[in-house]
């Protein structure tokens, strides 16, 4: 899936976040393993960390620190030289149009602004693969549009993007390929068009509901039960 946008879909509690956490080395799989960018997520976790970027569901920024302070801190964790890093931060802030607010605490930002900083936080070390967990959740239409365009742009610049979302149109619009996970297993993986024609559906939403059923997914366990882990990203 080099260089593509991979839409990773699944109902609540299907194991999406758990898989993302494992692929980004945040959780260790209880059994099995996987490779990311050719590196083993357990044995070569540190290698994996260098080539991936993470835009998690929760904003990874310190609310009391300014955008620049946040970005400089996280950038330095990747061993970037301070001067180069400063240039990079400026460039990225310009890209998401936030130079004006660079020194205000991010806690005071609107959700859209915060998410834009959160996204460039994942891009500081110019990762090969970017994991984005519901990057447009709870944003206004303008911000959603901005983020979606940004995702396309980043992909055109050569980044592989793993995207999870509950918005089917978004997945349809952005993804080159779609993977659907349910009960901890990948139940389908194809291009959006391929999925639709295979199941004879008009929209991706129909595909999704046909594959995962219409029943509500209520579960209340603290730990997501994880069985098999996926193969290669």
């Amino acid at each position: 899936m080099d260089g593509e946008i991979f839409g990773f879909l699944g109902p609540n509690g299907a194991g999406k976040s758990t898989v993302i956490r494992m692929l980004t080395t945040l959780s260790e799989p209880s059994e099995g393993t996987a490779t990311v960018g050719g590196y083993d997520i357990v044995a070569q976790a540190d290698r994996v960390r260098k080539i991936i970027g993470l835009v998690a569901e929760k904003i990874i920024l310190y609310p009391r620190l300014s955008a620049v302070e946040n970005l400089m801190f996280f950038g330095e964790l990747y061993g970037l030289d301070r001067r180069q890093l400063r240039d990079r931060v400026e460039k990225l802030l310009t890209m998401v149009q936030l130079q004006k607010f660079r020194d205000s605490p991010v806690g005071g930002y609107s959700s859209g602004m915060r998410q834009r900083v959160n996204i460039i936080r994942g891009l500081l070390h110019d990762p090969e693969i970017l994991f984005m967990d519901e990057p447009t959740a709870m944003l206004d239409p303008q911000s959603i549009r901005f983020v979606r365009d940004l995702i396309k742009e980043l992909n055109q610049d050569g980044k592989t993007i793993v995207l999870t979302t509950h918005i089917m149109e978004e997945a349809d619009e952005l993804s080159h390929r779609i993977g659907i996970i349910d009960h901890g297993k990948i139940i389908a993986a194809d291009t959006p068009a391929g999925l639709k024609s295979k199941l004879g559906c008009q929209t991706l939403e129909e595909v999704f509901l046909q594959l995962t059923g219409k029943a509500l997914r209520d579960s209340a366990s603290n730990h997501v039960p994880m069985r098999r882990v996926m193969g290669r990203v």
Binding site: I60, Y62, L77
Partner: protein, 403 residues
Amino acid sequence: MKSQLLFQIYITLRMAHKDLLDFWKAKMLVATFTVMPIIMMTMFGSMFPQTGVANPFSGKVSSPYKNSPMAIVVEDTGSFGLQVADQFKQIASSTGLFDVLEFASFGSARERIVAGSLKGAVVIPAGFSEAFSSQRQATVLITTDDTNPQMASIIYGEASSIFKTISGRLSASFIAKMNNSVDASFISEPISVERRNLAGSTTNNFQFLAPGFMALTVVTGTLSGLAAVISREREQGTMDGLLVAPVPRSTIVVGKVLGQTVRGMIQASLILTLSILFFGVRIYGSPSLMALVMFMGVASFAGVGIILSAIASEQETAQMMMMLLQFPMMFLCGILFPIEQLPEWLQWVGKMLPLYYAADALRKVIVLGASFAQILPNLTIMFVYATITMAVAIPIFHKAMTR
């Protein structure tokens, strides 16, 4: 390899710096953090009777037991009784110890003690003068308000010391009459006692409290700070940002401990500064040794702090757990009062806790000017604690974070 190590050290420091920066930006938190030791010192310092501590604002020496209202009842009908009573009044008022009021009978004085308007009564009983005339030892009776045992014993001590002075004067004059060639004090009091302190001037309660509070603040401040920062990072999701970066987990843990330690040490130096400026505390030992003791005190608890915050899933739980740990330590580790005042089994519990050794060592350094070698046993115990708890804590932290 070497540059890798330097990078890790740099990242560790950067983690600590970030936590401190984050803390510094929370202005209300910083304010609370500053006011807290001031209030603690003032409250706890004033809780205990003190002698010779000047009021920081007026410079007046005050004691809650100065000028205490005290009754004197002279039941004796002879002249000696009245003489002794006059001397008592004179000494009491010149030293400012008691405000002496005359009462006709012990019964009426007793009523006033029960009512709370008198701290005690001195009775010169009938037959006092007669005993003197027939050259027998005479007795005075001292009664105190026993509702506050601590105060009662101080009042009793002060009143009896006045009578000791009077008694001494009398014996000197008796001896002088009997034999002019001998030093009167040699016969009346062949052995006299003078107090010589181990280091410098007299001690006061703050001299005892300040080192204890410094140790307590550094340790508990670091503990609860650690619990707060770790659980907050987990809750707000920023911990994932640290974990997903290609840095060893130990830089996160050590960085956090370091950041909180610096914070705790700042608070401790604040206590020390206040104690020196306002509460007459003097330092007789070396400041770098003090810093070492405080650092080891923190290190000995850091593991426990990490384990608790790793176990607790949210900030509130973590902080409550820390409180549970801190509160008894205040009493068990000789912070507020010497541990010897506790029952033996509780003393043992206190001696199991590293805070006891931190407070003890810090007190020895500050009050007695102890050297490194003299506090080495304490440092060794803290080091052993630190090593064991950290060895347990780091794997637990790893496990909790990758859950």
